[in-house]
């Protein structure tokens, strides 16, 4: 078993909380894990990505080879497209539909959606709206993770446990909000 995931977004959007959740879940399941992150310059509103690799065998490269990612998880629609060269032909894209516009020449949203649909197996959802409905506008990331959960080679309960562990410090209320967001994302994606 191997599961190679590209996490994408814009610096400051907090893709690392998604990475941390998957990481904790992988540890619980005793899987091998490598997760390379971006720190530094591009965290100032630039494009950021993280390579996350899970396997039941030893993982060598910290970077995913092009053409072999099983999944792109993106918290921003244009950023999902930036990593298409890494996606395998059978791979899936799960992305938020909410654009993060901090550049003057940001493309039209319709054009982005057209490209996303052309790209292959894509799930687009308004994660922030779903999070807001739950009364937790900052849990959009967990909604996206929930929507992607069926493509990650981990039981959903492990992801739930990881959320509990990750947010424990912030109290029971925050843990519950994030668990709700995770489940809402899974339900919105409509996959078993």
């Amino acid at each position: 078993m191997k599961c190679d995931i590209i996490l994408a977004g814009v610096g400051g959007q907090g893709i690392l909380s998604i990475a941390a959740t998957i990481g904790l879940a992988a540890v619980e399941k005793n899987l091998f894990l490598k997760q390379s992150e971006v720190h530094g310059m591009s965290q100032r509103g630039g494009d950021v990505q993280s390579h996350l690799r899970l396997s039941d065998r030893e993982i060598h490269s910290d970077l995913i080879p092009e053409g072999s990612a099983d999944l792109i998880i993106s918290v921003e629609p244009m950023e999902a497209l930036r990593y298409l060269p890494w996606l395998s032909p059978e791979g899936w894209i799960v992305t938020s539909s909410l654009p993060y516009v901090n550049i003057p020449d940001y493309p039209g949203l319709e054009d982005i959606m057209t490209e996303l649909n052309k790209a292959g197996n894509t799930i687009v959802l308004d994660a922030d709206a779903i999070a807001k409905d739950l009364g937790s506008s900052r849990s959009g990331n967990m909604v996206i993770l929930g929507a992607a959960s069926s493509f990650i080679a981990l039981p959903f309960e492990s992801l739930e446990n990881a959320v509990r562990q990750l947010f424990k410090r912030k109290g029971e209320y925050i843990v519950e909000l994030n668990l709700k967001a995770l489940r809402a994302g899974r339900d919105a994606a409509g996959r078993p």
Partner: protein, 538 residues
């Protein structure tokens, strides 16, 4: 064995604590910053009272670490690759003095320049100084090598260079931890003149160092990290550090086809290299960084063995390696997904919403407009983003502190006005000495210190400059009359333009201190405060 998910940086930090480190010194710099951040946040470090302070720059950090070593204790210093340029004087000489307590110098290189001005390869510094260099292939080795590095350092009385690159520094994996070792007690060097590099002493010690260096390749610990594996193929492969992982990514299952020498410690034993080269027709060298081993193999004449690598185009001459580059170098098939649609735009880093630097540049742009472009010397930090649209204001960014001194030279050449823009942490890192030069000549430079009271670019570490800038400037001799303080806010725009213009017009040195807290640190502090309040409520 207890296991923990750690970044390469964090593995080094935890290992140093477990290996009996008494003190760590550093100046932040991507991708090395998380080493000190981890030590500072570690309950183990707090319990054991491990010294863990940021220093003003890499040189002061290196020297403090050497001082701790002098007193017999284990010390570590960490920096990004260009930081080693700043620390180089102390570093090179520390090989001649030698050490007392174990001393590790961590240099984190940044091939592909994700967050740097260049991609220099710190392994050359190890060779230059004549000290052992360890270059871990993965997070576990990063952890384990720290123990060996301290032991080697104390065995040979030499500092040991631990070289990592961005991908290892910032990639997380599970690491098995050992039982912590006790820390050294204080003890003076047995030879009271060991650290006194007067020429007569230095000559003797340097000669001993050159002799010692020749023996290092045969050291069992050093050569033990380098692994030779036989293979049936006629192309031998030498990998350095994490390049080995990209090789394995491509040849797992067919390892028996490839004779491989996987290097992780230097100087490399010639006998090992000969064993590989003599059994092959060609040798492919895969190095994360400069073609160092490749050049050594080729030698000046480059005609004995057929060597492939960065110098003949088998591997790109610059930039970091990845699995695809290595596959191509091996002549293996590669895959790629769909192309990036042309509508996907570049998204360069930018000022945060509400950043004080942005308001400072808005005022500076207006104040300097009438003089035309080409007059703003800047430095390294978030404020360098003033080079990008819509400001397009920055004409130089070279090395920490160069804004002040390049402006001095330009005014000496007749450029007037000339403005230098520097951040608060960069100012105390390397700007103060240049300012003294400007004071003495009364150079017609306007120095804007854009003080956001933090080391912003690297994630908001404490800045040594906080609350000290006025007294530093006055102490260096800046005139009180031309030391102006402004608050970069939109509502103060007109006033700020006027102040900057007045000082630009002054035919002598002025300092404009533009001070407003970084909005990232401000919001983080606020969050921490309210969290603390909530805690007390509970």
């Amino acid at each position: 064995m207890h296991k923990q998910l750690l970044l390469g940086d964090e593995a080094i930090a935890q290992a140093a604590l477990d290996a009996g480190m008494s003190g760590m010194y550093a100046y932040p710099g991507t991708p090395s910053t998380e080493i000190m951040e981890y030590v500072q946040a570690s309950p183990q470090a707090a319990r054991d009272n491990v010294c863990r302070d940021w220093s003003s720059n890499e040189k002061t950090a290196m020297e403090a670490a050497l001082g701790m070593s002098y007193a017999g204790k284990r010390a570590m210093v960490a920096m990004k690759h260009v930081g080693l340029n700043v620390a180089a004087d102390a570093f090179i000489n520390s090989a001649v003095t030698g050490v007392n307590g174990g001393l590790i110098v961590v240099a984190a290189d940044d091939p592909s320049m994700h967050s740097s001005q260049n991609e220099q390869d710190s392994r050359f510094y190890g060779k230059f100084a004549l000290v052992p260099v360890l270059e871990p292939r993965n997070q576990q080795e990063a952890y384990d090598m720290v123990f060996d590095a301290f032991d080697l350092s104390e065995k040979y009385r030499l500092p040991v260079l631990l070289r990592i690159t961005t991908r290892l520094a910032h990639s997380r994996a599970s690491v098995g931890l050992r039982e912590p070792k006790p820390r050294n007690t204080q003890s003076l060097p047995s030879n009271p003149r060991q650290f006194v590099l007067l020429p007569a002493i230095a000559r003797k010690q340097y000669r001993a160092l050159t002799g010692l260096f020749e023996t290092l390749p045969a050291d069992g610990v050093i050569s033990g990290w380098n692994r030779l594996s036989k293979g049936t193929g006629k192309t031998g492969i030498i990998t350095c550090g994490i390049a080995y992982n990209y090789l394995l990514e491509n040849i797992t299952g067919h390892q028996d086809d490839y004779p491989v020498l996987s290097v992780a410690a230097y100087p490399v034993d010639k006998k090992m290299v000969a064993l590989l080269v003599d059994s092959c027709e060609k040798v492919l060298v895969l190095e994360e960084g400069y073609p160092m081993i490749e050049e050594q193999l080729r030698g000046l004449l480059d005609r004995d063995v057929k060597v492939m690598g960065r110098l003949d185009g088998t591997v790109p001459r610059d930039g970091e390696l990845n699995p695809v580059i290595v596959a191509k170098a091996l002549g293996l098939k590669t895959t790629t997904g769909k192309a990036v649609p042309s509508m996907v735009r570049q998204r360069p880093p930018s000022f945060c919403k509400g950043c004080s630097h942005a308001d400072m540049y808005a005022a500076l742009a207006e104040a300097i407009k009438e003089f035309g472009p080409g007059r703003v010397f800047s430095d390294i930090g978030c404020y360098t983003l003033g080079a990008l649209p819509p400001y397009n204001m920055v004409n130089s960014c070279v090395d920490m502190g160069a804004s002040v001194t390049m402006a001095i030279g330009a005014t000496d050449a007749g450029l007037f006005p000339a403005v230098a823009v520097i951040g608060d942490s960069t100012f105390t890192h390397s700007g103060m000495t240049g300012l003294l030069d400007a004071v003495i000549k009364d150079s017609p430079v306007t120095l804007i210190i854009s003080d956001n009271s933090t080391t912003g670019m690297t994630g908001g570490q404490q800045s040594q400059a906080t609350d000290r800038i006025e007294s530093i400037c006055l102490g260096l001799g800046v005139s009180r009359e031309h030391l102006r303080v402004i608050i970069p806010l939109k509502k103060n725009h007109e006033e700020n333009v006027a102040v900057i213009r007045e000082e630009i017009m002054h035919h002598g040195l002025s300092v404009v201190l533009a001070r407003r807290e970084c909005i990232q640190t401000a919001s983080r502090n606020k969050k921490a405060e309210s969290a603390a309040k909530n805690k007390t409520k509970e």
